[in-house]
Structure formats: structure tokens, C-alpha cells
Amino acid sequence: MQHMAIDEPRAFRLLAPEDLAQAIRWAGADPHNHVFLAGGGDLMEQLKTQWRNPFTIIDLKRLPGLRGLQPTAEGGLRIGALTRLAELAREPRLDGELAALRDAAGRVATPQIRNLATLGGNLLQDSRCSYYRSGRQCLRAGGDLCDAYYGFHQEHAILGASRCYTVTPSDLTPALVALDARVLVQGPEGARDLPLEQLFSATDQDLRRMHRLAPGEVLTAVEIRPRPGRRSAFVKYAARKSWDFALASAAVALELKQHRVVDARIVLGGVAAVPWLCPAARELLRGREPDAQTIDHAADLALVGADPLPGNRYKVPLARKAVAEALRRSLALSAAPPSLL
């Protein structure tokens, strides 16, 4: 357990690289004892409780070229990893088709945090499980048991939990996975890109980390490709309306052709360690003109396999309600949404 009386960081060296290549080189020079700092919303808290005490902090804040939105050749959008959440929340290019992303960004924490927090940082947050973050030797921290399973787990997973019941704290993740985003990564081995949903590690894959970036790799951007007839929505339920993590959230991206669903990507947040895709609901909606009954049915299917703990049974109907609400909202966009740009 950490000392209760501590709330300032241990000394570290703060390195401010001039460009991405230098950042990656410096990370390689201290491969096991460095962290990257962006907005700091998560990292500063880790440092101040001395839960994490890295020797080297590589400050990405001032790196050039990683902030802002850019059109891509194929008509999509590339969003730099250092783009602030506040910028996303008021970005006019995210109206319409990408509303889920804009709304998710606007629901993160508080205005003050959104002014510093970055897109990349939001995707790469560590678990906020209070057992894990307290310094207890829980399963995720290398111990034998998930303390939350036996203890206080109102906010923990109802889906896909394998021994550890943590949930993803990110609001942007479900929105971006629903929008079928890819992430661009730069590392010692060069550049790569992958579907966002593959960035995260489920508890049965890697218990120790929420994401699968290799040491020294930097998430540089997110890319969203255009989809004709797509509309999206994000719904978040939290105990408070600001500065809170989702108890359950749902992002929906529907591709419609003459009111008929061509594709439906439904993603839950706050209910599993990873953004939770709902294939059964997707199958149900494909080819249909959704009515109220279909929406309810899809919401039921989205929660197939839910296996709550005694203290978080409420999350099942809550997540179901979030899905239904997100579906309704995305369908209620009557006018054809504007194109991406």
C-alpha cells in the first residue's frame, strides 16, 4: 500500500525531445524506466501518489506535427495524438457523421482536464481500478487474486472478465472503435498501423497492460475513413455528470442506405477491460429498418454473455439502456449528415 501522506512526485528527469525520432531514441536509451507524458491527466496522478516512479519522463507535449485534424487522401480524417480533447469537443468537422467522437470528448472529466488531456492519452490510460491503483498486490499488479472480485466492485466488469475485473476508463475508445478507426504508431522498428480495437489487451491476453504498444512506441495519430450514410452517437452513464468515469457507455455507428442498416458497429465502454464490440446486435440490425422493437432487441443482444458480480448487476440494464439510447439518437439524425470534411 502507498503512503496516504504522499501527494507529490519523486524526483525524475524530464526530457523534452525536439522531434518524434528523438523521443523514440531516448525511450530506447532507458527502455525499462521511462514513460511518455502528454496531457498528464492520468500520469500526473500516478506520479503524485508515487504509485509509479519512473526515472525518465519523456515529455511529448511540444512535439511538432502531432496536434490537430487533417484530411486524408481517401477523404477521411487523421487526428494527431496530441490533439486536446477540448479541441475535439468543439471541432465542427466532427459534427454529423463523427458526432460520437465529439460527444465522447466532451464528456471526459472536466473543462480543465479537457484543455490538457490528449486523444492519445485518453486511449492509452491505465486501469483506474482503485485496488490496482492503491498499491495492493492485486492480480493485475502481479498478485494472486482480483481484490475487486471479493471486495467493492460496483464499477467493475460485467463482460469478458477473466480473473481481473477492471474496465476501460476511456470514453473516446468506444466512440473511435465504433467509427472503425485505425491507429498510427511510430516506434524503434518504424511505423505501423492497426485497427484501434486491436490496440487493447483483454484480461485473458495480457493482465499487466491495458494496451499493446511495445516499449518505445508512440501512438501518433488516429485515422477515420469516410463511410457513406454513416451516423453515430455516444451515450455515457456515470454517477456524476462531470469528472467521472463511465459506469456504462455505448457508442454506435450506423451505416444506412435508404433507412436500411448496412452496418452497425456497437461498442460498450466501462463494462469490460477492452472496448466491447457487440457482433450479435450488429447481425440483427444488418439489412433492417430499425423500429423501437428492433432497438430493444439489439440492446438485449449487445449484453449477451454479461456475467455481473453481486455488486454490479445494475450495470447490465444500464448498458442495455445506453445501447438503446445511442441507437435511437443515431437514428434520430433525420437529415443526411454532412460528409466528413
Partner: protein
């Protein structure tokens, strides 16, 4: 403001004068745009190493040396002395440290100072331009924008950014923009109104600031203030003037304890930093603490452990060898700076002997457990006692006969959780103990009681201890050192100071403030009520078990007051209450706004609805039939069977019912569908304080009246209310009186600042002192004016005769002879009441009505300087009760268990409205705090290791600006004979507006009785959808 100190000049009076200057001319003198830099070289030793950087703050460039790991917040406060930026949670969760970074609000505690290089930082000190306040500051001053004021600078800066982008915001936009700034006082409605008002001023520059509109009229749609049907008030009361300290708070000039030691003109400089070694286990004995590794650190200054702590009364020391809950303090270190102090703590090697933990109060009681304290499992007033002996028992009438005479007996069981104060300002003290003289600057509600307790704990004479607290960033009972059973961190700092020969500062982290400090007791109530078919109570039986944690703290007293809460609202011929404060190895239960009442009122009022349901009676009607009225007997408290002075319980119920539309009430059986609405209510009494108060009003030789009050400055604006009354008696404007507080060597003695007592108790003493002074003035003027004193009046700084002659106070003061007799004035009919000595438990029926020696000493010192001294005294009358009724309307989603509170109506009988903006702020803020208690706020402990699980502001769910519904406040007036102008207490009552009314509304909507707080999604869902199978057998 450049401040030059005069020997008789407190910072409070300085900023007050600046404020008066400012409100008169809408400008401030010099402004504080350029802070007095602590450096050439910086103040903080930590900054002596570090990289040279240049920071731009408020348009000025500062060359500094900043270590990589130092946050902007610490640089602003500790290196630049810009303490207008407040340190709250220090974890990016509260918003008190909000500053502008290139115009955008950010949390300074979450930003490394190095990352602010190259950006423009603006703090509250930078908002003033050319000696003028920013319109937002002006609006916050005039519209009660602050209660404790600790969140105010951050709020104002967030609002600055909003108005830059959105000059004409809607209330919703204000709420959204300020949603990252928590206000634990719950002053949100006033803050929104202030921002909207500032927007109007800024869009209409031709309107002189504050000139044309009423000073205070909240307009937010979320705040609706009703006028009450009040008897005519004497002219001058109920004024809408700004609070006396509003200017200091809105400008960042208010110095809270944590801000001290960081300015050149502070009395204390360069304190050492102390940190507490807290036990991570629920029950363990510290065998050895070794600081060998810490001693290698150059800035390390020493260790203090349990065996260096003197014997003190009670079951707890400031450091304990046997730790009895997670977070119990066993040792402390001191170092030159915070980083070294933390590193020293990390380097301590501690050897623990683990002891079995006992978390369950019921089990501990059943087993008569002796393992936590050898005297037994029950915390009694005289110490630990056996299970068979309740902490408090109240019996009256023949319970069995009452139950036998009932047509119906209804039983119920109710549970309430641990609840954190979560004040904006973390607990902080600086202690300087040298040559047997101790000065403690402390975040403290009750400076005189703190002095008394520290005297007993440290074995120093009270006269050799000085306690100072001018501004307190939220107290709520959590910063009230009124028994030696508290955490006593002040004593740790004092002992470290003695050991090191330096002043020592000890400041809590967020986690310490939430989990290591006292919490609101979790309670279990078992209630049995007998009623007749026509709804009259015949008997009431209650057994209450409160988990008081590792130590008694205020446990026995809280359990007693909870008994009053159970029994004293309704007329009932027979009752029995047995209350047990039971030791556990959980968090320590202490005093917290309401002191047992919130728990008891929840249980009793849920039970009344259960009774109403069984009888098929409208819950309002059941309460009307049983609730007490004026003249009914107060059955409990310091004096039994005292008749109630005027109360308006039934008027509160009538007006509240009308406001919420109670005629729409239908029984649960009439509801159907997924979304169901319900109405619920509660009614209850409270006390107006306890014990006695002194007061002193001094007319100096220049004709100025000084009012040095012993009252604590928690943000309730009690000092303003008291000054209003004194001004009224003396015929002076409030501004003409030099009102000050917060220093045991400069103000009149007061018992304590809690129990809703300030305006009533301290206020009555001050009222008496003012009458005493007025009487002396009239007696002196009578021969000069040739009229009998009884025919003279005081107005506009003169004593006047009916015929037209008058003489100035100044002249009377200049000629006065010093009084020899220091007998205070009081009204023998209403002010001399039974007095409890809490150390002995002895009640004196007719107390001697003498001033405390501290007040006498102050009076003599002032008399030596000339002028006249008025003295007043008051002993609390138990028949003075503020009453309240509250009503809730909710909508419940039957499928998910989501409860939406649609509106709350809160009607309070406070006797007489003295200072309306302050009273309204208490109602709105207390209601919001109670709403958090009702809906979310629980400090959870892990069932296995008993460590707190969610000690964060988001983990607890402290209500923010987007988290409360429409709140209607109705102030009802039934003036009490003993009250000054009839005023009663108010501070705590609003705390229980929400929980029972919401619980009853949920029952009304769903037909499901939920008798356990909080009404969060997990609990409501679990109640609406009981679990069918258990899965605890699953392997993990």
C-alpha cells in the same frame, strides 16, 4: 494590495477596509497585480536546485529555478507567493487550483511547471486591472458568490474563460463551464447567478457596477427563492449587503492556513514540513520505527513516535502505538521541504505486529469484544464500557403499556453509510512551540475549544496557547477540535516543533482528509413504533448501533444526538432509545454537519412512511397529527421537559406541501409503467446550539465600534449576521463596525463553532454586549442631554434625545471612565439556562453567568486603551428549535433503478431572517450536501483488508455543478424568545432535507421500501430486482 501591518490590525480588517473602499468607488487602491516576490532567491528550499526557467505569470516574467518534478501549483504558491491559487485536493479533482494557461482553464496541480514555460499563466491576482476588480469578482462579492471561499478564485477563472468565448451565456452553459470546480459548500446557485450577473455587466459597460440592481437575487433556474410570510422585521435586519469577507475571497487575498508562511508579511516563515506515518493495516502494533535511512537525507529534521507523546485523556493519542484503523497515525517525520519529508517517510522501516481486525459493530457488541479497547466494545462518555451498557439511553413513560395500547406495531431496520466531509481545503496547521508558548495556525472551526483541548493534550496552560484561524476552507464539523478524541494532528506538529526548535507545518493530502480523518458514523437503527388506527403514536422504541471505528472521537455524543433525532420530533407518551457507539477497526466516526441527526432523521422518517403505508394514511397527514407545536415539551437534551419556544413545524409542512404540489400525491398502488414518479417528505427539529458564549463590543476613544467575535469563519457568514444585529442595536451601518474573528488572543471567548449555534448563541451574546454598550452610552448621554436614558435613542453614530439634542459616540467615548465591574449583560428570563460541563457531565441548573477569563482579559486590555466596553453572555436555551420540512419529487426507471430527483422543496423555520443571503446559501448548500449523502456518497472500505477503497472526490461522487436538481428554499419565521431578534440556528438542518424525502418518494413511486442509503444505481436496482442466485462459489 500592499499591506503594512499595524499592531492592532488583523488582515481581516485590512481587507475589509479595502473592500469598503472598493465598494464605495468600485476600485481598489494599489491592486495586487505584482505579488511581493518571496525571492530574489526563492523561498522554498526545493527550488534551490532545479533548472533555470522563465515563467510568465500575470504578464510578468519570473526567472526561477524549477526542479523537473515540481508542479505549477507549488511554484505559484510557494515560490511566487501567489496564494490566491488555492491548493485543494492537489490531485486534479476539485478545481481550487484552476489558473488560465494561454487563456484556458487548467488545474495547476496537474501541470509540471516546466510545461508552463513559454505560455501565459493568469491567476486570480492577475484579474485586477488598473486597480479595478474584474466584473466577475465584483459580481461574486455582491451576489454571495462565496461561502467558505476556497473554491472561489478557481471558479472565477473558469468563468473568465467562459465569458471570453460566450459573452452572454445561458445558465446551462455556466454550469457546464464551471463543472470542473467543486464547491463543497454547495453554493452553486449563487455562483451561477454571479457569473450571469457579471456577463450582464460586461455586455453593458455603461451600467455602473453594482449600482442599480438588488445585491442578491439568484436567477438561475436551478435556484428559486421564495419570500416568506414573515412578521415585520426591525428596519436594518435582513439586508442584502455583501458578506464582510466577500472581497477577500473573490480577490484571492483571503489567507487560509495553508497559504501562511508563504508571504513576507506572514507571522510565521519557513516552517519545517511534517508528514505522518499512517498504519496501512486495520489493527496492528508498531513495534519499531527505524529512521536510519531517512537520516541520510540532508534536509531530514527528525522523527516523532508514539512513545514521545504525553499521556492524554481519552482512548486516543495524537500518535498511537497500537493502530486501530487503516490510516491511524503512529509516527511523524519533519524535514526542510515536502519532497524530503515524503522521501523520509518512504525510508522509514517499520516493524508491525498484526492483530486480528474486527470490522462488524454488531458482532463486536454481541461478543462484548475487548480486543480493540480493553474496557469493552462500547464507546461511552467516560471511556470504553461493556456491551451491556449503551453509550446513551433515554426512557420515558411506560413503553410496554404504550405498545399494548397500540392498534398497530410497525418494525423497521435502517442503515446509513460512512460519509466524508471532503472540505475544499485540506486540514493544515503550522505549530510553533518554543519556550512553553505555543502558537497554532490551524484550519479550525473552534479556536477556543482547540486551545482547551491542546492544553489538556500537551499539558500546557490554556493561556500559553494561541490558536489562529481567519479563513477556513470548509469545516462541516470535520475541523472542530472539541474533544481530545480527535486526530490531534495539531499536537503532532506542536511536539515536532518543540523537538526541532522550528515552526512545523502539517498539511493533509486528499486521501488523509477523506479516510484518515473522522467520517460521519455509519448507523444501524432498529425501530418499533406503536400507533393507533387514527395515526397517533403511542410508543417508540429504538436501538441504534453506530460504528465509531477505532476510537470514540465524538461517538457517544453523536449517538445521543441521534437519539434526540429519533424521539424529539413527535409527541409520544412512551419511548425508549438505546444507542451504542461501537468500536470497530473501521474509519473513526466523528462529528459532521448534523451530528447524528442526518442518520436518525433518515431512519425515523422512513419509518413514519412505513407506518403511514400500513395505516393507509397520507404521510403528510400522519406527520401533522404527531408533530410537536409551540409549548410542547422538549423531552431530551440538557434540560428535560422544557417547553418549546415558538416553532413553525406545521407552517413549514403546509408551505412546503403547497410548493411541491402535494395534492398530486397518490399511493404507490396507483403507479404503473417503466418510469414512475413519486412524492416524499420529512419533517424534523434541530437544536440551535449548545453551551455558552461571551461577546464584547468595544467603542474606542475615536468613536469606532469593534466587534471581536469568537466565532469560527467556516463560510456560513455568521460573523456578518452577528454584525448586522449589533449594528442594528447600536444604530450604525454594518460597515462602520470593525468586525474581526479568528485569533484567541484578540477576540472574545466562545465555546465552539458547531451545532448550528453561531447566529443564535454567539449572536445572542453579541446582541447582549451591544445592548450593554448602548445602555452605557445612554447613561453617559443622559446628563449631557438632560433627558432620562430610557428616552434616548442611538442612530447614525449619535445618542439623541426626543427633543432634538444629540451627542456623538466619539465624544462619549473620549470622556468615558473605565468600568471596573465585568459582569456581562444577559436577560435573566431567557438567557440563563442549564449549562453542561462536558468534561464532567455535570449540568448546572442556574449557572453563575460570568465571562470566561479570556474575555475578561481582553476587556481589561481594551479598557486600558480607553473608550467603553459592552459585555454580553448567553447560555443556550434547549427550547429554541429551528424546524424544517422538505419534499422531494423523483422519477424512477423501474428497469435500471435510475432515480432522477426532479425537485426538492425545503422549508425552514429559522426564527428570524437576519442575513438573508447567508441563510439562503446555507439552505441551498446544505441541501446539496445532503443530496450527495442521499444519492451517492459513501466511503467504502474493503471487506477483507478494511482499507478505504474510494478515497477520491470522483470515487465518492461529491456533487458538482451539474449534479443537483431544482431546489426551492422557503424561509419561515417563528421568532424564539431567547434568540437575538428571535433568530434560531440553521447550519445543519438543510443537511437532512434530501435523504428521507427522496427515500419516501422512491417508495411512493415504486412501492419498494429501500431502507439503506445511498440511493445509488447499485442499491436501488438491487432492491427493485432482488438477486435470484448467488455466484460467490465461482472460482477466481
Amino acid at each position: 494590495m500592499s499591506t503594512k501591518r499595524h499592531s492592532d490590525d488583523s488582515p481581516a480588517s485590512q481587507v475589509r477596509r479595502a473592500f469598503l473602499r472598493d465598494t464605495a468607488t468600485a476600485t481598489v487602491g494599489a491592486g495586487l497585480a505584482v505579488p511581493e516576490l518571496l525571492t530574489g532567491a526563492q523561498a522554498s528550499p526545493a527550488a534551490e536546485q532545479g533548472n533555470p526557467v522563465q515563467l510568465t505569470v500575470n504578464g510578468k516574467r519570473y526567472p526561477l529555478r524549477v526542479p523537473d518534478h515540481r508542479t505549477l501549483l507549488l511554484v505559484l504558491r510557494e515560490d511566487l507567493g501567489l496564494t490566491g491559487t488555492k491548493k485543494g485536493c492537489n490531485r486534479g479533482q476539485c478545481g481550487a487550483c484552476t489558473v488560465l494557461l494561454d487563456g484556458d482553464p487548467v488545474y495547476a496541480c496537474m501541470l509540471l511547471a516546466a510545461d508552463a514555460v513559454g505560455h501565459e499563466v493568469v491567476t486570480i491576482e492577475g484579474l485586477e486591472r488598473d486597480g479595478r476588480l474584474h466584473p466577475l469578482q465584483q459580481a461574486f462579492i455582491e451576489r454571495m458568490g462565496s461561502q467558505c471561499g476556497h473554491c472561489t478564485p478557481g471558479m472565477i477563472l473558469s468563468a473568465t474563460a467562459l465569458l471570453r468565448d460566450t459573452p452572454d451565456p445561458t445558465p446551462e452553459q455556466v454550469r457546464e463551464a464551471l463543472s470542473g470546480n467543486l464547491c463543497r459548500c454547495g453554493n452553486y446557485g449563487n455562483e451561477i447567478a454571479a457569473v450571469l450577473d457579471a456577463a450582464r455587466r460586461m455586455s453593458n459597460p455603461w451600467q455602473p457596477a453594482g449600482a442599480t440592481e438588488p445585491v442578491h437575487a439568484p436567477r438561475s433556474p436551478a435556484v428559486r427563492v421564495h419570500k416568506s410570510d414573515r412578521p415585520p422585521a426591525p428596519p436594518g435586519l435582513d439586508a442584502r449587503l455583501p458578506s464582510l469577507d466577500a472581497y477577500a475571497k473573490a480577490t484571492g487575498r483571503a489567507r487560509y492556513t495553508g497559504d501562511l508562511g508563504l508571504h513576507r508579511d506572514d507571522e510565521v516563515r519557513r516552517p519545517l514540513i511534517a508528514k505522518l506515518l499512517r498504519c496501512p493495516y486495520p489493527h496492528a502494533e508498531a513495534l519499531r520505527v527505524d529512521d536510519r535511512l531517512a537520516r541520510e537525507l540532508p534536509g531530514y529534521r527528525g522523527l516523532l513516535t508514539w512513545d514521545e507523546v504525553p499521556e492524554s485523556p481519552g482512548d486516543r493519542r495524537c500518535l498511537n502505538r497500537v493502530a486501530r484503523y487503516v490510516g491511524d497515525a503512529v509516527a511523524a517525520v519533519a524535514a526542510e521541504d515536502q519532497y524530503t519529508a515524503q522521501e523520509s517517510l518512504q525510508r522509514l522501516q517499520v516493524e508491525w505486529r498484526h492483530l486480528p481486525a474486527h470490522p462488524d459493530p454488531q458482532a463486536n457488541l454481541e461478543r462484548d469484544l475487548r480486543a480493540i479497547h480493553s474496557g469493552g466494545p462500547v464507546a461511552g462518555f467516560a471511556g470504553p464500557q461493556p456491551a451491556g451498557q449503551p453509550s446513551m439511553e433515554f426512557v420515558q413513560g411506560d413503553l410496554e403499556a404504550g405498545l399494548a395500547g397500540a392498534d398497530l406495531i410497525v418494525e423497521g431496520r435502517y442503515e446509513t453509510p460512512a460519509h466524508c466531509h471532503a472540505p475544499s481545503e485540506p486540514h493544515c496547521c503550522i505549530a510553533d512551540l518554543r519556550d512553553g508558548k505555543l502558537t497554532v495556525w490551524d484550519s479550525q472551526q473552534s479556536i477556543f475549544h482547540a486551545r482547551e483541548v491542546l492544553s489538556r493534550v500537551l499539558h500546557l496552560a490554556p493561556e500559553s496557547i494561541r490558536v489562529v484561524c481567519e479563513y477556513l476552507g470548509g469545516g462541516f464539523g470535520g475541523k472542530c477540535l472539541d474533544t481530545p478524541g480527535k486526530t490531534l494532528y495539531q499536537a503532532v506538529a506542536a511536539l515536532l516543533s518543540a523537538k526541532t526548535g522550528r515552526p512545523v507545518r502539517l498539511e493533509y493530502t486528499l486521501e488523509e482528509a477523506l479516510a484518515a480523518e473522522d467520517v460521519r458514523h455509519p448507523f444501524i437503527f432498529e425501530i418499533r413504533a406503536g400507533v393507533t388506527n387514527d395515526g397517533r403514536l403511542t410508543a417508540l422504541d429504538c436501538r441504534a448501533i453506530a460504528a465509531t471505528g477505532g476510537y470514540a472521537s465524538s461517538g457517544p455524543a453523536v449517538v445521543s444526538v441521534a437519539g434526540e433525532g429519533i424521539i424529539d420530533t413527535y409527541n409520544c407518551p412512551a419511548y425508549r432509545y438505546r444507542g451504542y457507539a461501537v468500536y470497530t477497526n473501521g474509519p473513526v466516526g466523528g462529528e459532521f454537519r448534523g451530528f447524528g441527526h442526518p442518520q436518525a432523521v433518515f431512519a425515523r422518517e422512513r419509518h413514519m412512511d412505513a407506518v403511514a403505508a400500513r395505516l393507509g394514511l397520507d404521510p403528510l397527514e400522519l406527520r401533522r397529527r404527531n408533530s410537536k407545536r409551540t409549548g410542547d415539551l422538549v423531552t431530551l437534551g440538557v434540560a428535560k421537559d422544557v417547553p418549546l419556544q415558538a416553532i413553525a413545524a406545521h407552517r413549514c409542512m403546509e408551505q412546503g406541501a403547497k410548493a411541491i404540489g402535494w395534492d398530486r400525491w397518490l399511493p404507490p398502488g396507483a403507479k404503473s409503467g417503466r418510469l414512475r414518479r413519486g412524492l416524499g417528505m420529512r419533517v424534523s427539529q434541530e437544536h440551535s446550539g449548545r453551551n455558552d458564549s461571551d461577546a464584547l463590543a468595544w467603542l474606542d476613544r475615536q468613536g469606532r465600534v469593534h466587534l471581536p467575535l469568537g466565532v469560527g469563519n467556516l463560510g456560513t457568514h455568521a460573523a456578518t449576521g452577528i454584525a448586522v444585529m449589533v449594528a442594528q442595536v447600536l444604530g450604525l451601518p454594518v460597515e462602520a463596525i470593525d468586525t474581526r474573528w479568528g485569533d484567541t488572543e484578540r477576540v472574545a471567548w466562545d465555546f465552539v463553532t458547531d451545532a448550528s449555534r453561531s447566529v443564535h448563541c454567539t449572536g445572542k451574546a453579541a446582541y447582549n454586549a451591544a445592548l450593554d454598550l448602548a445602555g452605557q452610552l445612554k447613561a453617559l448621554a443622559a446628563p449631557i442631554l438632560g433627558e432620562p436614558a430610557a428616552r434616548l435613542t442611538l442612530a447614525a453614530g449619535r445618542v439623541s434625545a426626543p427633543g432634538g439634542g444629540s451627542v456623538s459616540l466619539r465624544r462619549l467615548a473620549a470622556d468615558a471612565l473605565p468600568r471596573g465591574d465585568l459582569t456581562p449583560r444577559y436577560d435573566p428570563q431567557t438567557d440563563r439556562n442549564p449549562l453542561l460541563d462536558e468534561n464532567t457531565g455535570i449540568i448546572t441548573a442556574a449557572p453563575p453567568m460570568r465571562l470566561h477569563s479570556a474575555t475578561e482579559r481582553l476587556a481589561r486590555a481594551l479598557l486600558r486603551r480607553g473608550g467603553l466596553v459592552g459585555l454580553g453572555y448567553y447560555v443556550f436555551h434547549p427550547g429554541v428549535q429551528p424546524w424544517g420540512a422538505s419534499f422531494a419529487e423523483v422519477e424512477v426507471d423501474m428497469e435500471t433503478g435510475q432515480v432522477e430527483v426532479l425537485q426538492l422543496v425545503c422549508a425552514h423555520d429559522i426564527g428570524r431572517v437576519i442575513y438573508r443571503p447567508g441563510a439562503e446559501a446555507q439552505v441551498l448548500g446544505g441541501t446539496i450536501m445532503g443530496l450527495g449523502y442521499a444519492q451517492r456518497e459513501v466511503l467504502h472500505s474493503d471487506p477483507r483488508d478494511l482499507a478505504p477503497v474510494n478515497p477520491t472526490l470522483y470515487g465518492l461522487g461529491i456533487p458538482g455543478m451539474l449534479d443537483y436538481p431544482l431546489i426551492h428554499s422557503i424561509l419561515v419565521e417563528a421568532p424564539a424568545e431567547s434568540g437575538p431578534f428571535g433568530a434560531k440556528g440553521l447550519g445543519e438542518n438543510p443537511m437532512w432535507n434530501a435523504a428521507a424525502a427522496i427515500g419516501n418518494a422512491i417508495y411512493n413511486a415504486t412501492g419498494t421500501a429501500i431502507d439503506r442509503l445511498p440511493y445509488d444505481w447499485a442499491n436501488v436496482y438491487a432492491a427493485l430486482h432482488p438477486r435470484r442466485s448467488s455466484r460467490l462459489s465461482v472460482d477466481n
